[in-house]
Amino acid sequence: MSAVLREGRVILFGRSCFSQNVANFLMPGSSVRNLSTTAAVQKVQSGRYKVTRDRSRPLTYEMANQPCQIAHRKSWNSWNTTTLYEGLREPETVMDDVFIRKFMTGTWHNLFVSEVIIKRQHNMIRIAGIVQQKLAARKMYFLIGYCEELLSYWLKCPVKLELQIVSDKKDVIYKYI
């Protein structure tokens, strides 16, 4: 019951149609009594992948582990101290991280086969990830230099890339579901 209550309170703030129903149901003495007969699907979906019939969906190790496994079996994708007590620049950092991820996956087009990991230490940002070996090494060096420099100009701090190259996309596949 407490779980439902908590769910109800959360939804109350959400002001959705569904929440109205629940609110009316829960509040005593309300004038309209709509009774929803559909059971609430309290399904947690983020970070989970649907199993295919022929088990052909490739997952990386990162994808294969659910978000609840963070800090147990896998780690965070962004490392910074903004969320600590008296941490600074939390919203800015989140937006910067979104920008970095978009920039990286766009610049290294179709090359990243892992998540973009962003680590911040002092004034330095280190961007790690696994990249496919589709480009000549010298072109990769060009992109490395380009990304480091342009992101530095944008974020106004030194940026370093820490990439690993895999020869085949399949190298990072952990399992098929």
Binding site: A137, M140, G145, Y146, L163
Partner: protein, 663 residues
């Protein structure tokens, strides 16, 4: 028994006693401490990077991985010299592309989340004609933007904006230093590192350029203006005009500063012809300095020695150089690496007598960390190594030079990539010729490929010495390194590898090596055949008979008989593309292999090849084949048509002889 128990018990007690006494002891030591006064050391002023530098000094260059400027991933690790250069320059060109994007779209990069503001990340400030003012000009000069500053100066002139003499002087100094040309920016480290530094000694000064125009436009020509112009002119070897200006200064009794005198001393050799006259001039300049009370500095010492290197062939140059050094050290001037470099140039000349000055020098310099204090400091290490190898051929000296290079931050003074590779080329060559081969190979595998990738000549030398010392076990490793260093298409090296591999004598205890040699020969064969397919290549590899013979020997020894047949067939069919012929010993080995496998056809091929090559040993080979193998009538007929009937009769007679002996 009882005694021993007693003994152990006693010892236990003693132990306990010791333990119980511990706290008492610490107590007793703490009492006198309390009487002592605590002396707080004085604060040492540290720069923001001191701790980082102290940390960095605890680690050495890791020889097992690539340089930190390269990405730490196997796919991105360069092995050959050309790849090292290409990768680091590619990265820098990426950085340049980013810089270009920033500077062509400055409006996108104007946000300032950084506090305090960091100028290096902000787009370059652009000035328009309307901004022209003295302040802007001075700012441009401060940023070393030579061409922009000159343009700004011209705009100011057109707009009749009055410029103060100070601003003009600052611009004059910049223009004189850079000869009115933009310098390579400090940010492009790799370009600087890989740039070919050609020290051309010829006049490159921009005559009647901006510098002289500025000089003329100055209201009152004071000493600093003269100094700047003379220094600029001497730096770019406009010697006569510089001398003219110097004379002008003397007439007007304007004092000159030390560095201007230094620059004049440096180029004094261009003003006189004979060696003694040149030295005379240097002495005159030094005397003038002393008269006008100008204190000499390190630059004076180095310029004097540099002037002496121009007359190094002169008999007195060597004695004078030491005298100069002594006098300057007495005057309290600490020599820099450039000083030693000039001394080496004077004393250890190619055609001069052998001088062991380097050894004394190294004893004196041992364990000292140097800092860049003079422009030519970066020439010392490569010259010292060159002298250790070519002049005195002393491995011990070379080791000392290398130790010195790895002391403190001395490695920063190696210069650029070219000087670094020349340094290691000399070091490797010397070690290779003077060290036991096993020891050398240890150093080799330690330093290459990440510190130094051997070039073709060095590789050739290593291969030759490995063969000479009969250390054939290193050949497979050297070959695979060669391929990795992009030297796998060098005919000379392949020939050496093959001849070394063919020298290998198979035995029961080196089966692994035999197999490896076979694989080397096979790899070379396929590699060269592939290269020969590529008709666009300029330097085509031509098979020589010797090379093919060596390939055959290795393949036979390693038991790769099938490929042997292919090689032999190829050699027969494409004989016109092969230089020379497969030598008889290799044919003999091949024939033996064929006989062992009872392969008459191949045996016949060998004999035919020998016949076509015109080897004297053909008959011998044919006899050997005939006597050791039961040939089919068809094969016998072929042999007869090839060699005539007499060979067969000889063979039959020997056959009948042997048959006669048998019963």
């Amino acid at each position: 028994m009882r005694g021993s128990i007693h003994h152990t018990f006693h010892r236990l007690l003693k132990c306990l006693d010791l333990r119980s006494s511990l706290p008492r002891r610490t107590l007793s030591t703490s009492i006198p401490l309390s009487h002592q006064e605590i002396v707080i050391p004085k604060r040492i002023q540290r720069s923001p990077t001191d701790i980082l530098q102290a940390l960095a000094s605890t680690i050495k260059r890791d020889t097992s991985g690539p340089h930190y400027k390269h990405h730490d991933d196997p796919y991105l690790t360069p092995a050959s010299n050309s790849l090292k250069r290409m990768y680091s320059l590619s990265k820098e060109s990426g950085r340049k592309a980013a810089r270009w994007i920033r500077d062509s779209n400055p409006q996108l990069f104007l946000h300032t989340p950084d506090d305090p503001h960091i100028k290096a990340f902000a787009p370059t400030v652009r000035y328009t004609e309307d901004d022209a003012s003295e302040a802007v000009l001075r700012e441009l000069v401060r940023q070393n933007e030579v061409s922009d500053a000159i343009t700004m100066y011209r705009i100011c002139k057109d707009k009749n904006i009055d410029l103060s003499d100070e601003a003009k002087q600052e611009l004059l100094e910049l223009v004189c230093y850079s000869n009115g040309e933009d310098q390579l920016e400090e940010d492009w480290l790799e370009e600087r590192w890989h740039r070919q530094t050609t020290t051309t000694i010829r006049k490159t000064w921009n005559d009647d350029g901006v510098a002289e125009e500025l000089f003329q436009s100055l209201g009152e020509k004071k000493s600093p203006a003269y100094c700047a112009l003379i220094r600029g002119m001497t730096q770019y070897y406009q010697v006569d005009r510089a001398w003219q200006l110097y004379k002008e200064c003397q007439e007007r009794e304007l004092p000159l500063d030390t560095n201007t005198y230094n620059s004049l001393i440096r180029v004094s050799s261009f003003l006189r012809d004979a060696s003694d006259l040149r030295w005379q001039l240097v002495k005159e300049l030094l005397a003038t300095m002393a008269e006008s009370g100008v204190q000499p500095n390190l630059g004076t010492l180095n310029s004097t020695l540099e002037a002496l290197t121009q007359v190094a062939g002169w008999r007195e140059a060597r004695g004078l150089s030491l005298q100069v050094l002594r006098e300057f050290t007495q005057a309290g001037i600490e020599p820099s690496l450039a000083t030693y470099y000039f001394l080496l140039l004077i004393h250890c000349r190619e055609r001069g007598p052998v001088s062991h000055l380097l050894l004394d020098m190294l004893d004196h310099m041992q364990g000292r960390a140097f800092q860049a204090r003079h422009l030519k400091d970066t020439y010392f290490f490569v010259t010292a190594m060159n002298i250790a190898r070519n002049h005195i051929q002393n491995l011990e000296a070379a080791r000392h030079v290398d130790d010195l290079l790895h002391t403190g931050n001395n490695y920063c003074l190696i210069g650029d990539s070219y000087r670094e590779s020349v340094y290691y080329r000399h070091y490797f060559a010397l070690m290779c010729s003077q060290m036991p081969i096993d020891q050398f190979m240890e150093v080799y595998s330690d330093l290459s490929p990440h510190i130094y990738t051997p070039e073709r000549d060095v590789m050739e030398m290593i291969l030759k010495f490995t063969t000479l010392h009969n250390a054939l076990q290193y050949i497979p490793q050297l070959y695979s390194d060669m391929v990795a260093y992009n030297l796998g298409n060098q005919e000379k090296l392949l020939t050496l590898v093959l001849s070394a591999a063919a020298q290998h004598q198979p035995a029961d205890d080196n089966i692994e090596l035999t197999e490896k040699m076979g694989r080397v020969a096979e790899d070379i064969w396929t590699r060269v055949e592939e290269l020969r397919q590529d008709k666009t290549r300029i330097n085509q590899i031509t098979w020589t008979g010797q090379m093919l013979g060596d390939v055959l020997m290795c393949l036979v020894v390693s038991g790769n008989y099938k490929l042997c047949q292919v090689v032999l067939k190829d050699a027969t069919l494409k004989a016109h593309t092969i230089l020379g012929y497969i030598p008889p010993p290799a044919l003999r080995v091949m024939l033996d292999a064929a006989i062992q496998r009872k392969d008459g056809d191949t045996g016949l091929e060998v004999v035919k090849y020998a016949l076509e090559s015109g080897h004297h040993e053909t008959g011998e080979l044919a006899l050997h084949l005939r006597s050791s193998l039961n040939l089919t009538p068809r094969q016998k007929a072929k042999l007869t048509t090839a060699l005539g009937t007499d060979i067969m009769t000889e063979a039959t007679s020997s056959d009948s002889d042997s048959e006669g002996c048998q019963p």
